[in-house]
């Protein structure tokens, strides 16, 4: 099998896992900062900002 195709499949699996985890987190994990939901454009960071 083409080596490029194998790498692409591995990337695909990694991205799918990450995406699935993000979706799971969005719906099922209670966050410290529930407003942001993964949006890093927000000016208000996590409530536990460590200096």
């Amino acid at each position: 099998m083409d080596i490029q195709l194998i790498i692409v499949f591995i990337i695909g699996i990694a991205v799918a896992v990450k995406l699935g985890y993000e979706i799971y987190k969005f719906f099922f994990v209670k966050k410290d900062s529930p407003y942001c939901n993964g949006c890093t454009m927000c000016k208000i960071p996590d409530t536990k900002t460590k200096a």
Binding site: Q4, V15, Y35, C36, N37, C39, M41
Partner: protein
């Protein structure tokens, strides 16, 4: 005479504040108490609201609300009445703060290093809005929290840690609040935080420039018996006004250490932290004494009677001092009433409370809530009379700037001029670094193209990652410039003036001037804008503001505009950009009116808003602001945008049809053979191969997974003039708006041999009949659709959190997307009719 009748430049004295509930309480907390001097400064451009000066600070009030305040212009009359009020309440302002224990305040703060004390100190920062809490928090903890020269920047508690003199401080920055009355969400939030979290020390940040009003919150904290150190912030402004303040004497009087600080320059912060350690150590070693505010004979008697009602009741679970509970019960505080209702004999307590309230009203000729507020301000006035000298120098800078920027003829044109300059700079200045980044992306793309063997990985890198992420990253300079302007408006104090001049317009929409700040913040990011609606007292105004914030075009939408405006409207780029933003505002106005008439019909709350003096933003704060933005934008490139680009590429690359591919390969082979046999020249060969490749790519995309999704939704989007690729980009943009651009970058991959900018690729895109996919009409519809439709997942989640219900989040999704579809349809169909 009413306050609304006071002419510009005239001074008068307050006799009485009419109205009821939250309205009157809010006015009194802001310093509109009997006997207080008030001056009319100027009218907003539309004659409403009016700016007044009271207690050395400036505040705006609507005409309809100023009419509720009775005034007199005769100083003798108010002096006479003052004597009457004083004898009624029997408040001796020279009495000073009383203390239950015999220890002097000095002894409270005495250092006691012999004893072991814990090394971790939990410190809560409280204070009025715009008193500089966040500046102190940032300096002390090294955090980069956003600060601004307007109220309500902090809408949630933020935590930071720092180490000083061997101690670990956990600093918590709480939202700014004028009191702890419990009328607004922030007031309740701060009070609950202090009660439930029980910080070791509270740093009460008092703005030295408006000390009289700021000390009101201090009196409430004293009543709550919280261990407190006062940071007398912006002390330089007090000194510049030529005043002398004997803060040491005041500290002794109130039994609370006071440390002068200048938050933005970092002056006094080490001393403040030392004092916190000292005070913390003393509270650990001794039975802390709690000073009390004397409320005068009538009120003190009522408090004492109420205290007797609790004689046999264990109030320790409430974590509040008995005296405070009694005061709040007498004031009619609904939160405390709710707590007391849990007690078995609450009927007796409420019956006694009602009797005492009636007794106070009878004797003092005012309700209990006003009596306590007046007594607190009376006490503050007494304390300051002895320690604070009169102001000698009056800074005219703020007045001079306000005379221009809030002028009735110049106010609005200047506001729109600022906005136009902001967009012009965003587009024009940003163009040069943007071209540089674009060039870099092309170089990288071409390098991979020429040096990597053909295959799916090469396609993923070139079309997926470089095409997707590279299409978005080029707009980084524009984002930075936009935020430079927003930071300047926020930090200088102009943002509050914008609210001031817009209040009448907002009022016509059924909204509050305060709603304007979240709306302006929405230009940056909708999520914090929705969170900042917490500063709006009325739930109906808050809900309406929350639902219209998504129409404020956030910075994530800017890359989409820039891609298309740059190609199709380059001559009028700034005007088109401004037009899009104005359209968003207009839709917000119309939606607000609709919501006010249908969903939220109740009355809104008074427009009482502090207008801070103008302050020159420091270079450091502007740089921090811009750096944070750039950092967040870059992080987004490596996170959701990269992820989305790869997902879109996968959906566009698979499934592979080997038979179809082989057929195209055969066609190309035939063309090449024709060339070697000299039947066609090189130019014809290249043209034919390019045509075959184009058809191959089009067929492949149409049959790919994303093509099938696009084709599925295309019938709905076709009346708007959108092809399936545009439809897919809009679908993927629901996660975050920049993904619209990265998706277009992946789908419109362009020529295989040469990396060109996304803009060139979009311009060159045609339908099979040769007509362009993107016409100016399609682009206008598309940009409007992007402006109006589904904000983004994070914004929807914020609406859900702030409204407390998925119902409103779902409403926002359907309303905005439905409206976007309608507007784009109208634009396209009317445009086609006009063109034909």
């Amino acid at each position: 005479m009413r306050l609304s009748e006071l002419h510009t430049g005239e001074t008068a004295y307050i006799l009485k504040v009419n109205g009821n509930g939250a309205f009157r309480k809010r006015l009194q907390e802001m310093g509109f108490v009997r006997g207080q001097e008030v001056k009319a400064i100027l009218n907003a451009p539309l004659k409403d609201p009016i700016k007044y000066e009271i207690m050395d600070y400036e505040v705006s009030l609507r005409r309809s609300e100023a009419v509720m305040i009775e005034i007199t212009m005769l100083q003798e009359e108010v002096e006479q009445k003052k004597k009457q009020w004083q004898s009624d309440a029997e408040i001796d302002t020279d009495e000073g703060f009383t203390s239950r224990t015999s220890e002097s305040s000095e002894s409270i703060v005495q250092e006691n290093r012999q004893h072991k004390v814990p090394k971790n100190i939990k410190v809560a920062l409280v204070g009025n809005p715009n008193s500089g809490k966040t500046s102190i928090f940032n300096l002390a903890s090294g955090a980069h929290e956003h600060v601004g020269n307007y109220s309500g920047v902090t809408v949630d508690a933020k935590e930071g840690t720092l180490h000083h003199q061997g101690y670990t401080f956990t600093l918590v920055d709480l939202p700014g609040t004028y009191s702890l009355a419990g009328y607004t969400p922030e007031e309740l939030y701060v009070r609950r935080y202090i009660v439930e979290e029980q910080p070791d020390i509270v740093i009460n940040v008092v703005a030295a420039s408006a000390i009289e009003r700021s000390l009101y919150l201090t009196t409430e904290l004293i009543d709550m018996e919280v261990p407190m150190v006062i940071a007398l912030n912006m002390y330089d402004e007090l000194e510049q006004s030529g005043r002398k303040f004997d803060y040491r004497s005041l500290a002794t009087m109130i039994g609370t250490p006071i440390i002068p600080t200048v938050g933005k320059k970092g002056l006094g912060i080490p001393q403040l932290l030392n004092e916190v350690i000292r005070f913390f150590a003393s509270t650990q070693q001794q039975n802390a004494s709690h000073p009390h505010i004397p409320y005068g004979r009538v009120l003190e008697r009522a408090i004492e009677i109420m205290e007797r009602e609790f004689q046999h009741i264990d109030i320790t679970p409430f974590r509040l001092p008995l005296r405070y509970i009694c005061i709040k019960l007498l004031e009619g505080d609904s939160e405390i009433e709710r707590i007391i209702r849990q007690l078995p004999n609450h009927q007796n307590i409420f019956a006694r409370r009602d009797k005492e309230r009636a007794y106070i009203e009878k004797l003092l000729h005012e309700d209990a809530e006003s009596a306590f507020t007046n007594a607190r301000y009376g006490f503050i006035a007494g304390g300051l009379e002895e320690t604070l000298s009169e102001r000698r120098y009056f800074s005219e800078t703020t007045r001079k700037i306000d005379a221009i920027v809030t002028n009735k003829y110049l106010g609005f044109p200047l506001f729109f001029l600022f906005m136009w300059i902001m967009f012009e700079a965003t587009f024009k200045l940003g163009e040069y670094p943007m071209q540089g980044i674009e060039w870099l992306v092309e170089i990288i793309g071409n390098f991979v193209r020429t040096n990597m063997a053909d295959g799916p990985l090469k396609d993923l890198i070139v079309d997926g990652i470089i095409g997707g992420v590279g299409g978005v990253i080029v707009f980084l300079p524009n984002i930075v410039i936009l935020y430079l302007f927003i930071a300047f408006m926020e930090d200088s104090g102009y943002m509050s003036r914008a609210s001031f001049i817009m209040d009448k317009v907002m009022h016509k929409m059924g909204l509050h001037g305060k709603s304007f700040i979240p709306l302006i913040m929405g230009f940056g990011c909708n999520v914090p804008a929705i969170m900042s609606t917490r500063t709006i007292e009325s739930r109906s105004s808050r809900m309406i503001t929350m639902l219209i914030v998504p129409f404020m075009s956030c910075s994530a939408r800017l890359p989409v505009y820039l891609v298309f405006v740059g190609i199709f409207f380059s001559k009028y780029a700034s005007l088109v950009l401004l037009g899009l933003y104005v359209t968003g505002i207009l839709l917000a106005v119309l939606s607000a009116r609709l919501f006010r008439k249908t969903l939220f019909t109740e009355e809104d709350t008074p427009f009482v808003m502090e207008l801070p003096p103008y302050r020159m933003p420091t270079l450091k704060s502007i740089i921090i602001h811009m750096w944070d933005r750039s950092n967040q934008y870059l992080k987004k490139m490596g996170g959701p945008i990269l992820l989305a680009s790869i997902v879109i590429w996968f959906l566009g690359y698979f499934p592979r049809n080997m038979q179809r591919e082989a057929a195209f390969d055969l066609q190309i082979e035939t063309v090449k053979r024709s060339f070697t046999q000299n039947r066609i020249d090189e130019q014809a060969k290249n043209t034919m191969i390019a045509d075959i490749e184009h058809i191959r790519m089009t067929q492949h995309q149409e049959n790919s997974l994303i093509g099938q999704i696009g084709k599925f939704i295309e019938p709905v989007m076709r009346p708007l003039g959108f092809d399936w690729k545009i439809s897919v980009s809009l679908l993927s943009g629901m996660a975050a708006k920049e993904i619209v651009v990265s998706t277009l970058g992946v789908l419109y991959a362009g020529n295989d041999d040469n990396q060109t900018s996304l803009q060139q690729r979009l311009k060159a895109e045609t339908y099979p009949d040769g007509s362009p996919v993107f016409t100016p009409l399609v682009v206008i519809g598309f940009l409007l659709f992007v402006l109006i439709y589904f904000p983004c997942i994070a914004t929807i989640a914020a609406i859900k959190e702030e409204s407390g219900s998925w119902k409103w989040a779902a409403f926002s999704i359907f309303y905005s997307t439905g409206l976007a579809w309608m507007v784009a349809l109208l634009v396209h169909q009317i445009g086609l009719l006009v063109a034909s």
